[in-house]
Each structure stands twice: as C-alpha cells, then as structure tokens.
Amino acid sequence: MIQAVHLPESPEAAAVHSARGGWIMGGGTVVMPLVNSGAAIRNELVSLRRAGLAGIEVRDGVARIGAAAPLSSVKEHPGLGFLRPALRTIASPTIRNLATVGGNLFVAQPYGDLAVCLLALGATCEITGPGGRREAPVADVLASGVAEGEFVTAVVAALPEPGTWYYHKAMRRRLNSASIVTVASVTHTADGVVTSTRTALGGVAPRPVRAVSAERLMRGRPLSPEVLTEAGQAARADTAPFDDAYASAWYRSRVLPVHLRRAFIG
C-alpha cells in the first residue's frame, strides 16, 4: 500500500526523499503496474514530474536530455532526428508520452531500446544522490545501477557524425513490441574500412551490452556480408540470452548474426 507520493520541485528535494527510501518514478510505466498489482517494493513514491528534469538541449553537437523527458519529446526534438526511427520502435505513442529517458535505463530487457542507443553513443549519466552530484558512463549505470538514494538526472551524449549511426530492432510485430535483438552502433569508416565502432546489443542479455567481440572483428575491415556474419557469430560471446514470451534464448542467439548484419547493410 502506497503511503505517500512526493512531488519534489528540484532534484535536490527529490534526493532528500530518495535518501529516505522513496522509490524514484519517472513516467510510472514500470512502477505503476507494480503499484496496481500490490507488488510495489516500497511504500513511498518520488515522482520526478515536477523536478525540472524534462528539458532537452542540443548544442554544439552535444545533446543533454533530462531524465524525466518523456520518450515522445526525444522523438519530436528537431536536433535528435537520428534517434527518431529508434524511438518509433519503443512501445506505443501513448506509452511514449509517459515513459521517460531515465526510466528506460532501469527497465529489464527485452525493454530499454533507448538505453541500447545511449550505450552505443557512449553517453554519460549525471547522477544526484546523498553525496551530491557525480557523473558516470552509461555503461556503468547499465551494468551496476546507481547507489542507494541516488538517481539519474540527465544523460549527455555527443551526436554521431552523419552516416555513422546504425540502428535495427527485430521484434514480433512491426510496432509496439519488445526486442528480440536490438542493434545500435556508431561506426566510422574510411575508404570503406571500419576505423572505429561502438556497437551495443539489446534483447540478448539481462542488460544492454557492448558487442566487444564483434567490434574487434570489424575494425580495419570492410562492412561486407562476410565480415558482418563473422562479427555477428563472434558477438554471441558478449551475450547472455534468455527465454521469455517473445522468443527463446536459442532463437535470440540463432538470429543475432542476421540482425547485426541487417543493422549495417540491410
């Protein structure tokens, strides 16, 4: 039974409630189903809706996105057009009006496709907590969360250069479906040869993961079907696939190379 819903008007005020054990809530798309079913793990909620964390700034090639920005705001922002196809694969427009960027970092796979994108972008999280503010790579937050009483207030990422952004999501339906395999990547090429790549996978492990084995195989080689097939098979080493209602672990692992290839060359 929920005893209180706090609506702090600043991140500092939210930190006070969070430090006292309040459960941070963005849009409520993860927390409220648990409240509705009586499975909430805390009895006080801290909504970030009025904490001034919904702004999005894109300036000098860098995006700073407030943790409480709804996914629909990210999708509609003129400076973030490269993310629009990815946002379109996440839930429905109705849920995107509620679900937030910060919340997306903490949902269990096979959800959290924006987090996969942020991992590929090498984003940084701004975090507020009892000890004040700090920054951490999104990879660290995805791998090990934040400390007790802390919460993410914003994510910061450099925009990818034109022609370097790749995204592909395999799902059961064309719209509003969870991930079977999600691939997001920032990959630079020169004369057709990969000079650098940061490639992230969703749907194939409990949390979004970097496909470091695939990255290693791609560097210095062309984005050809042969190289990508090899890289996709190698990427299995970076994954820990699971069974769920959408797909079996076997299936996810089986189709991973195909979708990695499709992310780059269709």
Binding site: A4, V5, G27, G28, R49, S92, L98
Partner: protein, 172 residues
C-alpha cells in the same frame, strides 16, 4: 501521508476529489467522478482501453498516479460530444462499424482525437501507429483504421480547425 484533496480540469470543468496516495487517474475518473467511458483493462498500460488525454496527449490513465497530474487538464470520451451530438470521430466509428463489442472504443476514439488534433491529414501508417497501444480483441482493427481516416476527411470537409497542438508533454 493521509488522503488529500486533488484538483483536475476534466473536460474543461474544474473538479476536486479526495484521493489516497498512489490512486490512479483511472480510479478517480471512474469511481470518484463517475466517468466510466475509460475502461479498466490490464492495469499495466498494455491494452490502452483506459486511454484519456492529459494535456491533450494520450496517456493510459491506469499508469498515472493522480497526484502527479494535479491541476492538469484531462479529456475523456465524455467530453467529446457537444450538445448531445457525436463528433466526426464518434459518428465515423458508428457509420464504419468500428465499435464491435465496445470495450476498446473509448480508448481508440481518444487516441484518434489526439491524432487528428495534431495532424488533420494523417496517412494510414500514421493511424496504425497512433492506435498501436490500443488492443481490440474483436480483432476489428481494419474498420477502426478506416473510421479514423474517414473522420479526418469529414473534419477537413467540415472545415474543423485542428486542435491546439500539444506543445507540453504530459510530464511537465
């Protein structure tokens, strides 16, 4: 924290009610305000049958703790018809046999209202995406898509001005 008085602007009218902490907007609409068009389906945000407009944007009322939208505007199916006359979306649903059992209808109409307020001439693909969060278990999606496109045409022909664009997202 005890129950508290919360205010909302519902279908243009200021309303006040008493809410226990964490009560959903859906529960308040149905049980405190007697507005039962929004249906209680999955209570997880998956079926869309409780969809209402919060600040002109579709939101699943089952996922909204009502305190978090205090003083915001909420539009429900009850606020769509005026002077007892169905609007273009409602009459198009009737004429195109897009209602079937009716359980999803209120949510479908509210996402259609929001879509047509923002985009008076949506493509079929736009309509399909707009209703992608709303489940119809009569599996009658085709008539619903046709009805929404037909409603858009009716509105354009009647010269209905697009509604106020939803500049502020729900979370503001």
């Amino acid at each position: 924290m005890p129950s508290q008085i919360v205010s909302l602007v519902v279908n243009g009218e200021p309303r006040e009610f008493i809410a226990r902490p964490g009560t959903t907007l859906l529960t308040i609409l149905r049980e405190s305000l007697g507005l039962t068009a929004a249906k209680r389906g999955c209570a997880q945000g998956s079926c869309g049958t409780c969809t209402v407009l919060v600040d002109d944007r579709p939101a699943t009322a089952c996922l909204v703790a009502v305190e978090t939208v205090a003083d915001h505007s909420v539009r429900t199916l009850e606020g769509v018809a005026s002077d007892g006359n169905l609007d273009e979306v409602q009459s198009s649903f009737v004429d195109n046999f897009a209602t079937q059992c009716g359980f999803c209808t209120a949510g479908m109409i509210m996402v259609a209202e929001a879509l047509l307020d923002r985009d008076p001439d949506p493509s079929e693909e736009d309509v399909i995406e707009a209703i992608s969060g709303n489940v119809c278990r009569c599996t009658g999606y085709r008539p619903i898509v046709i009805a929404i496109l037909d409603a858009a045409r009716r509105r354009r022909e009647a010269g209905v001005e697009p509604g106020r664009p939803a500049e502020e997202a729900v979370s503001r």
